[in-house]
């Protein structure tokens, strides 16, 4: 069942890429949405309960290395899988247009399938293979369908050497993440040698080097300050679907990886304090960076760093509340930031720019529903209770307050304090963004038009998901109630 859920989107994606001249964009998008829906339904159906590994598939693969094709859905990965599949469906729906390139749909499908592969891998090498498989198509998505970012980005001088900014950003993204993956691979090798097995359920490593390498690798991916500078460039340059996938799914590869590997690494506790502090600093750092951004997509991208900071802080506590916080925070961030990027993408489609000053004020009056959606997404992102974004942050705070077994009180409470400052600053920059965009004397613009049906469906689905998760957090949290942190053991 898992195999089918992974293969259907992957095969449809490959076929769309091969036969990109044979199908029209709209057909391709429908096909993609269908494939992702199949995958969503299958993953939803495969669930057998939180105590088991659901839908386990275990086939021998590379015997000499001890690597096996071992797939399965655990209590940690299930929410990630459902969120990824949902985002995949919505991305395909978003691409329902005549001018969509079928190859783009194909790439989206392949990326989604590879990411779901990461989430359902129970073999470290297989995890890595999927991890890399998700990376490369993203380069094409950003480089070929992206648009040049504003020149205020990092390395503007370097950028001029490239023909277009999107390719520069894409290459930057690739270099960073591949660098991280290289560290991760070495870490996996060390774990494999140390524990004698690559199976997540059996592996264990007492090596400090493995812990450091793996955490560094995921720190690039997540990203944790100071390895984050690729992210604003890549997110702002990518096309809308690409941004959404990057934010909603790609960053989760990092957080999920951290959760997964923290159960394997015995020396994670030595790294955890640094992770906690880096995550907490990231929350404040990114919030400050957001406060003066003009480009909306860059703002959302930076805000992602902050949310990931909460997740990393939670993971580093290694407590059950931390686990729930990490999973809930990741899933909620996927939905909320997905919505924000869809909204920013709609604005960019209309006005040709994501610059808030050039889009102009008074969107409440110019395109009310779009403005309301944006405000709702912003409010959810700043963690208003009752919306999905809140519970992850709250549980992170709680995990930090409780300190957990791994951290020391000074470290955890420093993280807590920084996180609180970050929440305050997050409110400040989103209020500023709402003030700059939604409110103010409207100046009519040619691009003014309210949500189309496609946009309304995609964003509406996310809004519903955000509100439902916000009002019934038990949907996810019940999975973790009595289970201790080391679920994968």
């Amino acid at each position: 069942m898992i195999v089918a859920a992974l293969l259907v989107p992957a095969l449809v994606g490959l076929l769309l890429m091969i036969g990109r001249r044979l199908v029209r964009g709209r057909t391709a998008a429908w096909l993609g949405a269908g494939a992702m829906t199949v995958s969503l339904v299958l993953f939803a159906d495969v669930w057998e309960g939180r105590a088991d590994v659901s839908g386990e598939v275990d086939v021998s693969w590379i015997e000499p290395l001890g690597a096996r094709l071992h797939l399965g859905v655990t209590v940690v990965s299930w929410p990630f899988l459902l969120m990824t599949a949902l985002i995949g469906v919505l991305c395909c729906l978003w691409l329902l247009a005549d001018d969509t390139s079928p190859a783009l749909v194909g790439l989206v499908l392949v990326i989604s399938a590879a990411s779901m592969g990461v989430f359902s891998s129970l073999d470290l090498l297989l995890f890595f293979v999927f991890f890399e498989l998700a990376l490369i198509p993203m380069w094409f998505v950003i480089a070929w369908w992206g648009s040049s970012t504003s020149s205020s980005g990092a390395g503007a001088a370097h950028q001029s050497r490239f023909k277009n900014g999107a390719r520069y950003s894409a290459t930057r993204f690739l270099m960073f993440t591949v660098g991280g993956s290289a560290l991760l691979l070495v870490g996996i090798v060390v774990i494999g040698l140390d524990g004698g097995t690559l199976q997540v359920l059996d592996a264990g490593s007492a090596s400090l080097a493995a812990a450091v390498l793996v955490c560094l690798g995921f720190a690039v991916k997540t990203p944790i300050v100071p390895f984050h500078t690729w992210l604003p460039d890549a997110h702002s340059a990518a096309p809308t679907a690409g941004s959404v996938l990057l934010a909603a799914v790609f960053l989760k590869l990092g957080t999920y990886g951290l959760i997964l590997f923290s159960t394997v690494l015995d020396r994670f506790e030595d790294v955890a304090p640094y992770l906690a502090i880096a995550g907490a600093i990231g929350i404040v750092w990114s919030a400050l960076a957001c406060y003066v951004q003009d480009d909306l997509k860059r703002l959302v991208a930076y805000s992602s760093i902050g949310h990931m900071g909460f997740v990393v802080l939670a993971i580093s506590t290694q407590s059950s509340a931390g686990l729930a916080a990490a999973v809930f925070g990741s899933v909620a961030h996927g939905l909320v930031t997905g919505l924000l990027f869809f909204a920013a993408g709609s604005l960019k489609e209309r006005f040709g720019t994501a610059s808030m000053t050039r889009i102009g004020r008074g969107l409440y009056g110019r395109s009310p529903w779009l403005a309301v959606t944006f405000v709702l997404a912003a409010v959810a992102s700043l963690g208003l209770p009752g919306l999905a974004g809140f519970w992850g942050e709250l549980l992170s705070l709680r995990a930090a307050y409780e300190v957990g077994d791994v951290l020391t009180k000074p470290v955890a409470w420093t993280g807590l304090g920084l996180a609180l400052v970050g929440i305050a600053l997050t409110t400040a920059y989103f209020v500023r963004a709402i003030r700059l965009l939604a409110q103010g004397e409207p100046v009519p613009h040619d691009g003014d038009r309210d949500l189309g049906r496609r946009e309304a469906v995609v964003m509406g689905a996310l809004v519903v998901a955000i509100v439902v998760l916000g009002l019934v957090p038990a949907l996810v949290l019940d999975l973790y109630e009595p289970i201790r942190f080391s679920v994968a053991r």
Binding site: A154, G155, W230, A289, G365, L420, T427, Q439, G440
Partner: protein, 571 residues
């Protein structure tokens, strides 16, 4: 037109249904005995993950507040059909009011701390949206942003307080988390954190400046949210949480000090305002401080009684202010005067409101303020958690505040309703939908006083003080004073707003710019350094890759020679 009208009454009907349901639910609880006293139910000491189960539960005090909220809400909704019905964004406005009422009921009517928090923050969001209802104007935008930021940052205190409660008592349920006798743990921490939250929400010193700045919001909203209910919810929360920190002298003293500073400051600021709405806003700040003083004196019941009474008469005053603004088009005091003849209903109802504010028998304002003063006086005996000295200071400040309150109430009454009408003013009575709620509230101002306790000694003292304040102002007015006092420091509101309006934004902006620069120039050094190193390495390697066969051969030969030499030497 008819459909528009119908759609207006649709929202009123919606609110009415909500109010009715809430009333059916709340009224039976009014007569139940007891204050926030319930049997402790200690459960396990690891708090569960948060859930949002409704856990509805009402105490008599909270039932009162539910009724106050839905009652004022319904009146405001009716009032708004006339006041804002023509507005193109009436629909969203009315819906947000309904949402606000639901949130308010959630805050008051639940024992689940998370539901309480959700309601608490949703109220803040509604306040933000409604202050910013006129988002075309810069004032409204700035006021909304400030209100939201200040309250939300203060709300972090509540989040932390809930976390601490969960850690301390092992549950996030207010009933389950009641401390056993004399076993309130972490009392000071919880108390101070709750204090941070309520100081923000109820606009107490030093986070007070957002409330006067919230006045660009529509006046009915000011009446509902920024006078009667939301800001008062801070008092409710402080009273509700009192069992958690009743033992903590630190928390109660901090609350008393804040209340003392705020009540006097608010009253003095109200005395010198030239704008009616802003004056009433400062008056609200001052009155809320009076309620906090009661809570700090360990008599939350008095505080909540005053909350209800204040909610009624302050809503009355703000709605009356809305009628005046409807008539003269501005809220500036200088544009008002001589309202008795053109606007009799507004005149008489507002007079009742001002009387209640000043604390004149037999309005509700008198009785509840009487209870508060009595509570403060009782606390001076020093057998509570509050030290005797602190209580004495607080009591004296409260008496002075009463004097100032009576004075500014009289001044506002004289300036807005009596006095010479400004030239060219063509005031006329507001429509029935607006005057109706005024009458209802005026009646309620008296009705609430039914059954209120009365304390002889304090009652006489406070009546004397109020009479003194009123008499003083009347005397000066008779003598021809313009009543426009504006000593520079008071008019500038002591510059207390400066940190929030200038320093913090500027500091944040500067730090943020620095961060962006650092992000570009400092953090990005290692990838760029890596790229430069790679380029350098490429250039070095390019030297070797000369496309010259002979050079390759030379290198090869040299390599062989070196290898042989090494081999020989090693062997």
């Amino acid at each position: 037109m008819r459909s528009v009208l119908r759609s207006h009454w649709l929202y009123v009907a919606l609110t009415a249904v909500l109010a009715l349901v809430a009333a059916i639910w709340a009224v039976p609880h009014l007569s139940e005995p007891g204050w926030f006293a319930y049997a402790p139910d200690p459960t396990g000491f690891t708090p569960p993950l948060p859930t949002l189960s409704p856990d509805l539960f009402l105490f008599p005090a909270s039932a009162q507040i539910v009724l106050l909220a839905v009652g004022v809400g319904l009146l405001v909704q009716i009032y708004s059909t006339a006041y804002l019905g023509h507005h193109q964004r009436y629909r969203s406005y009315a819906m947000v009011i309904v949402l606000f009422l639901v949130a308010m009921i959630a805050v008051v009517g639940t024992t689940n701390l998370w539901v309480l928090l959700v309601g608490w923050e949703v109220m803040g969001l509604c306040s933000y949206l409604l202050i910013g209802h006129e988002w075309e104007t810069g004032e409204a935008r700035a006021g909304a942003a400030k209100a939201f930021l200040v309250t939300r940052i203060a709300d972090l205190g509540l989040v932390l307080a809930i976390l601490v409660i969960g850690e301390t008592y092992g549950t996030y349920d207010l009933l389950g988390a009641q401390p056993l006798d004399g076993e309130a743990k972490n009392a000071t921490a919880i108390g101070l954190l709750v204090l941070v939250a309520v100081v923000g929400k109820s606009a107490q010193f030093p986070l007070h400046s957002w409330l006067p700045d919230a006045m660009p919001g529509p006046t009915p909203i000011t009446a509902l949210i920024h006078a009667a209910t939301m800001v008062a919810a801070g008092v409710y929360l402080a009273a509700r949480m009192l069992p958690f920190y009743a033992d903590s002298t630190v928390a109660l003293t901090a609350m008393a000090v804040i209340a003392g500073i705020t009540m006097l400051m608010g009253a003095l600021f109200a005395l010198v305002q030239t704008d009616l709405k802003r004056a009433l806003a400062w008056s609200t700040v001052s009155q809320l401080a009076l309620m906090f003083a009661a809570v700090a004196a360990s008599d939350p019941e008095a505080g909540l009684d005053h909350l209800v009474a204040h909610g009624v008469f302050k809503a009355l005053l703000f709605l009356g202010c809305g009628c005046l603004m409807h008539a003269v088009g501005t809220s500036a005091l200088s544009a008002m005067g001589g309202m008795r003849r053109p606007m009799p209903v507004t005149f008489w109802t507002m007079t009742i409101g001002f009387a209640a504010l000043a604390g004149i028998v037999p309005t509700a304002g008198f009785f509840t303020k009487d209870s508060v003063l009595h509570a403060l006086e009782s606390a001076t005996e020093g057998d509570g958690a509050l030290a005797g000295g602190t209580a004495w200071a607080l009591f004296v400040v409260a008496l002075i505040t009463s004097l100032v309150t009576a004075a500014y109430a009289t001044r506002l009454w004289l300036k807005t309703l009596l006095g010479p009408a400004p030239g060219g003013l063509d005031a006329h009575e507001a429509p029935l939908a607006m005057t109706g709620p005024l009458v209802v509230l005026a009646v309620a101002t008296f009705a609430v006083s039914i059954g209120q306790p009365f304390h002889h000694g304090i009652g006489v003292v406070s009546t004397v003080i109020a009479a003194a304040g009123i008499g003083l102002v009347l005397l000066m007015w008779r003598r021809g004073s313009s009543l426009d006092w504006a000593p520079a420091p008071l008019a500038a509101e002591l510059g207390l707003d400066r940190p929030f309006s200038r320093w913090v934004p500027r500091l944040t902006g500067d730090v943020a710019s620095a961060v962006v620069d650092l992000d570009r120039d400092a953090v990005d050094v290692y990838p760029r350094g890596g790229a430069a190193a790679a380029a350098l390495g490429t250039r070095g390697l390019a030297l070797v890759q000369s496309r010259n066969v002979q050079r390759y051969a030379t290198v090869l030969a040299a390599g062989v020679v070196v290898l042989v030499v090494v081999g020989v030497v090693v062997s």
